[in-house]
Symmetry: D3
Amino acid sequence: MVAEKNIQEFKAGDEIQGFFIVKKIERKLSSNNKNFLDLTIIDQTGEINGKLWDCQPGQEATSPAGSLIKLRGNVNEWKGKLQLKISLIRLANESDGKNIKDFVLSAPLKAEEMFDELYGFVQKIKNTDIKGIVDAIIMASKEKLMYYPAAKSLHHAIRSGLLYHILRMLRTGEKLSQVYTNVNTDLLFAGILLHDMEKLEELDSDELGIAEYSREGQLLGHISMGINRISKVGEELRADEEVILLLQHMVLSHHYEPEFGSPKKPMIPEGELLHYIDMIDARMYDMEDHLKNIKPGEFTQPIWSLENRRLYQSSL
Amino acid sequence: MVAEKNIQEFKAGDEIQGFFIVKKIERKLSSNNKNFLDLTIIDQTGEINGKLWDCQPGQEATSPAGSLIKLRGNVNEWKGKLQLKISLIRLANESDGKNIKDFVLSAPLKAEEMFDELYGFVQKIKNTDIKGIVDAIIMASKEKLMYYPAAKSLHHAIRSGLLYHILRMLRTGEKLSQVYTNVNTDLLFAGILLHDMEKLEELDSDELGIAEYSREGQLLGHISMGINRISKVGEELRADEEVILLLQHMVLSHHYEPEFGSPKKPMIPEGELLHYIDMIDARMYDMEDHLKNIKPGEFTQPIWSLENRRLYQSSL
Amino acid sequence: MVAEKNIQEFKAGDEIQGFFIVKKIERKLSSNNKNFLDLTIIDQTGEINGKLWDCQPGQEATSPAGSLIKLRGNVNEWKGKLQLKISLIRLANESDGKNIKDFVLSAPLKAEEMFDELYGFVQKIKNTDIKGIVDAIIMASKEKLMYYPAAKSLHHAIRSGLLYHILRMLRTGEKLSQVYTNVNTDLLFAGILLHDMEKLEELDSDELGIAEYSREGQLLGHISMGINRISKVGEELRADEEVILLLQHMVLSHHYEPEFGSPKKPMIPEGELLHYIDMIDARMYDMEDHLKNIKPGEFTQPIWSLENRRLYQSSL
Amino acid sequence: MVAEKNIQEFKAGDEIQGFFIVKKIERKLSSNNKNFLDLTIIDQTGEINGKLWDCQPGQEATSPAGSLIKLRGNVNEWKGKLQLKISLIRLANESDGKNIKDFVLSAPLKAEEMFDELYGFVQKIKNTDIKGIVDAIIMASKEKLMYYPAAKSLHHAIRSGLLYHILRMLRTGEKLSQVYTNVNTDLLFAGILLHDMEKLEELDSDELGIAEYSREGQLLGHISMGINRISKVGEELRADEEVILLLQHMVLSHHYEPEFGSPKKPMIPEGELLHYIDMIDARMYDMEDHLKNIKPGEFTQPIWSLENRRLYQSSL
Amino acid sequence: MVAEKNIQEFKAGDEIQGFFIVKKIERKLSSNNKNFLDLTIIDQTGEINGKLWDCQPGQEATSPAGSLIKLRGNVNEWKGKLQLKISLIRLANESDGKNIKDFVLSAPLKAEEMFDELYGFVQKIKNTDIKGIVDAIIMASKEKLMYYPAAKSLHHAIRSGLLYHILRMLRTGEKLSQVYTNVNTDLLFAGILLHDMEKLEELDSDELGIAEYSREGQLLGHISMGINRISKVGEELRADEEVILLLQHMVLSHHYEPEFGSPKKPMIPEGELLHYIDMIDARMYDMEDHLKNIKPGEFTQPIWSLENRRLYQSSL
Amino acid sequence: MVAEKNIQEFKAGDEIQGFFIVKKIERKLSSNNKNFLDLTIIDQTGEINGKLWDCQPGQEATSPAGSLIKLRGNVNEWKGKLQLKISLIRLANESDGKNIKDFVLSAPLKAEEMFDELYGFVQKIKNTDIKGIVDAIIMASKEKLMYYPAAKSLHHAIRSGLLYHILRMLRTGEKLSQVYTNVNTDLLFAGILLHDMEKLEELDSDELGIAEYSREGQLLGHISMGINRISKVGEELRADEEVILLLQHMVLSHHYEPEFGSPKKPMIPEGELLHYIDMIDARMYDMEDHLKNIKPGEFTQPIWSLENRRLYQSSL
């Protein structure tokens, strides 16, 4: 019997059908000289590889990466991994009544709610020059901020990922300022809000959160672009020179090490904190993500983004 | 008129007297072949260099480093720095009624209060094996913990410095666990409480917080010593093997980089957080300390412990 | 005619049969969508890859890695390498009268003889505390020591490899102490005997010498585990503190560089020698192993474990 | 007899007098507790250290660093170096009729002539947007450019040093474009003209070429400042976006390595050339400068700015 | 209709025939267990991959790498790349009247003309000892120099590549000596002429410019071989010792960094220039080569030899 | 009473006289403007600093570094170190009947005996080409080899140090070849004998073992010089090319890492052993030397040549 299931629920032996997004599609030639399609499909719960044997040249173009498809197939186990043998595939059409956004992996909170909470932090800034610059930049970028991923790499490519990252950093920043009470929260919140904002221009992303570097992103990078932006907005608002300078310095130094893109290290405590808050949020996200399917007492495979560490799922 | 002042209050032209601790003392030979004493003295507010011209051979031994002295002298300015020309110096005696501890730079909170707050975190640990190990180690080391500095380097050599460092880390750990709610606070608090505990054995410190490396400290270092200790206490308490292993892993990995002493990087999120909390607290302490006498709009000198960065005192 | 030959004797065109150990086995899908088995088999003389075309799903499970099989097939040359086209394969059974141990690559000396010679070095130790600790650890680990490989990597995965490595190091240590006569041979022999002993727990190995990292091995590593072990055994024997400390220091420092796992470098000459003796033995083994099939005047391929050097077989 | 000589002409035994610039001055205390002045003085031909014994406290303030003084003294040899024993010293006054600029080490060409030649290269730029941006920035900075040194370090602190550096780079760039004929000389000349222009703001220099980092220089550095400047001027001139982007990219990447301040490496051939032209000019200057007083067949001392190399004066 | 085209002109759908050089050829087994040939062929305009399905074992030996073949086939597009499906292939024979040299990618200038220009620089050397050594080495190596590639890597493997590289460096050296007029052009030209001359012995290359390392090349490398050569030739000519020494020093130091093969850094300005001239020429060649097929406004793929930079084709 | 003692026997309070070698001598100016001599003197047992107050300008030239002097003075303790207050000093003269060589720190064995043992190893070489090259080089350098130090640094500057170093390495090499029996002892002994032979030309040393780099040593270094030498001698003897090549390769690679001067790593086992034997001997010498005056249970100061390790004197 054909079942409608999320990818996470697939089991070997299932015959399944349903709607999925094409993440990658390629036509390949088998060694007996026949064409077949090699696809990776995703929904909100996971991803799986599938093959459609004996396809036609050009068929790969009818359901390109990023499109919503309807698909039927059989789930097999192959070297310990599930794989789909696809029997039918077609592009979703209007009469299916499906919205592609419902099939994308997104941040765990709604974009609107995240933005409201984030904007609350803008309003907590007391220095009017700082607040003015941050407000102008955030509002000008709001549309993209609502859906952009946090990074190009597939791994972080979740819808609204950047917004989620900034928001958690703001929460962490507020907590830390309760322990380190000398910290200037105006600078700290502003630094967090602005630090990655030019990723919205460094990457060209579609609504699904799949991103590529832009020309400006390649030649300058989001840090230099951020310096330019703060300079420009700050001058338009005739903001205090020290304010402009410190916000630029925080963005410039937040990657900390030259080889990661920061020509200067933080020279103010708020810049130092910004860096560590950024690291903590990225690492907690990565670790949680890699450990989510690991059983207690077991290790993950070596993880590239964590210097090839293997993580351990404690049984405590 | 002879004034009794804290070192911080000295001004060029003052004639002062009072009680101070000798931090460093050396007899030197002037180039006209005469002996003089070269001293550094401290009180709770700062430190200053002084000279006693025409001393006797052996006089340096009558008020050795670490002793409380009574001293009279004149304050001069020398290359933009104040310096004492000492006229009289003698060891403090019983009839002076002074307690040397009142002259040492100490953590800003009372040791007893800090320990009580710290011990509250021990009691928050729910896993009885973790709690048992932590409790045993903390209580066995309590006496030293009350006064030990956090590091050998003069800079951190404040009385009860280690206690203060651990306490602020616990506060930070608790705050972060409110944002990253998946974190196992038992492991995190235990990791924070234990991570530097063997510094109490790696360093031989006196009550004034001036420390030297012990033989075991040189040959093994506090991390390996910590591994041994957890292993031993854990076995005595017949604690769960996984608990012993994870506590050891957190201590082992908390310096993060091999070249800083950690042969393994954290493989559990709690270990990752432990590292960043340690870094944040050390850096916030260092930065605050170096910036405290800097005027808005000015930079510090290059700071060795911060990779020769100069820090900036913002005017905001 | 079907010949019974060692793998080393195979020639293109042979039809062979015999008993072999499965080192790796995988079912793969050909591009015309058929199943085939891809095997690597070994005996004491070498290893070879083979294919069984048109197998059944699940057939790979009937002769898993580590099992002894009987096999028939034809030897072909494929890109300058020999390969087997397998016609028959089955698990060895009792009536075959074969012992799997006779088919594993082993150290060139018998385990019992190696152990006896090694134990002779234990008896040469004059300091009773050192001797006691070493004796206790060696005897407790004797069973595993008899067959464990020296490393996880396939390359060193010969039966009794660790025993062979330690023995040659002891011989070298004795020779060097005849030139550098100030060296304390008690410490040196003990350091050699103990330095890798916890590899027996860091790795889970079967009798065939195929190893995987254990949980404790991943989270702590054999060096930290060795520190723990010496500490525990030393305390049980109420050994002199200096003895415990120096043995721990030698184990801790024997990898020399932090990035290879040693947080401290050797601070005693015996530790320095231990490191170089370890290096020499590993390198001589590696070089001999890679050069053994190379003709005079030719170079090996780049060798990963030797920083991608190519070795040269001299014609002298 | 008192002679008036250039520093380069001093010989041991001379009694000299003349006008010099104070480069460094400090009051020091001798070990017999007397004040003396320790000065370094310069003229266009070199520098020499001198002592004025038995000075008054405060006397160091009467002829501060950067002032022109009249001085009399005796030249002695001290450890193979000449040194002055100063007998008289006073500030130059109006009636002396001396101009301090005549006593400063300057680039070997006149600033006006160098600027004219440099400006000729601006006029060679054919692309009007590139030319417009370069022209605007050069003309706005012309005043400072006429006298600024090329670097803070004393070594390069020659008057008009930056102008000289840029000019020789332009000459080299033109020569290279005759060999590598595909190079876009508009971009190359513009890159050379702009690459260090914000050093004029990164450093606060006086007319004598003695420089200190500015606040903005410390917090952002001349590369980020240059990015801002090009962005601003380019937008004011409504220049082509590609032009602005490429000029920014060349400035951003001209230090080549992240640890020297360039977050991006050159992605266009003109940027690659800019880097190497910069290196060649700096190195040729440094080498010529260090070799100028070395005899054929001899080596210099190790030179810090050349990774402690010693240079060799060939006898060919 | 079958067309005769250069590889660069191939389009999907073409049926083509013509003469090409085999760069790589391998027989492979398809997963349905059939043999096919996998070839890469080149002509002066480019390279393309092709397959000949259902070949015979041994057929790969009939047209080995380096041979000139006649071939017929169909051009397909495969994953955005063109590929040949080969129908006929045979070795070119005498009656075809083709010269293999006409099908190899060569430097853009004729070898004879390049050599004449190069030799003109030898004649510009005024110092007779320098000239003698250079002349002897160049003339002894002339035959190989006429056709050798500049490097082993496929990328530079153009016929007469080394000659072209040296020539452009000489032109650049002459230009630079017009700006840096203190430079000794005898040394500079000699250094350029000799710096890579032992690559002719380090690599064994055939007339097509396809190279492999020689035994001596592997064990010593072209730099040490060059030192030997200059020493030998110099002594035969009884040249001045200083001349021999400086020429050796320039060759020894021209890679600049120890990890690139230079145990010493340049200690004379001419050696410093030699290094930068070498870098500039290599980089300009590489960049031009990678950019030649890139459209304005687009980026190349990451380029390994340029530290994985992507290059940008400016639209200016 | 004036005692004649070795430096090692000096005690505070002694009045001593005797003959010593001047290692360093400088005239300095005290801050009360008087000249004094600052000397370091050595004998076979150690070294000590001394001062002669109120000397004459030029007096430092009457007993230059390297001369034998007669001296009288008083031993004082100064900051925990002994120091001499010199009352009389004069150059030793013929009538004193002293030989300067008796006052230099030398290797613990006689040069002649060491050379004989060393030459025995030459005679053990069976391959006549290898033996011929080694013999020729050793005999040509014998005179210098008898007294040269092993390194420029003061520390190793003992008379006949290089000879001693080579000899111990030969002993070690012979021992190791008894464990690693596949090693070609002809190559190994030859490699040891030749590896540092050009240090005799890289350094200009006097008979006392005090060395400076020669011109050739600076520009080429002893490794490249060794390559040249073997090449030259080998060709003169018409030795087998493989022999010449392998001896050169061993010398070239014996420093192992590019940053220590070896552009190639060893590609033959004998080269690998040569490197480790060199390391072991250097380290054992260094460690023994630094530990010789340290009491059991104590640490040395950080030692620069051992990466700032402190060594521990075990009490076992």
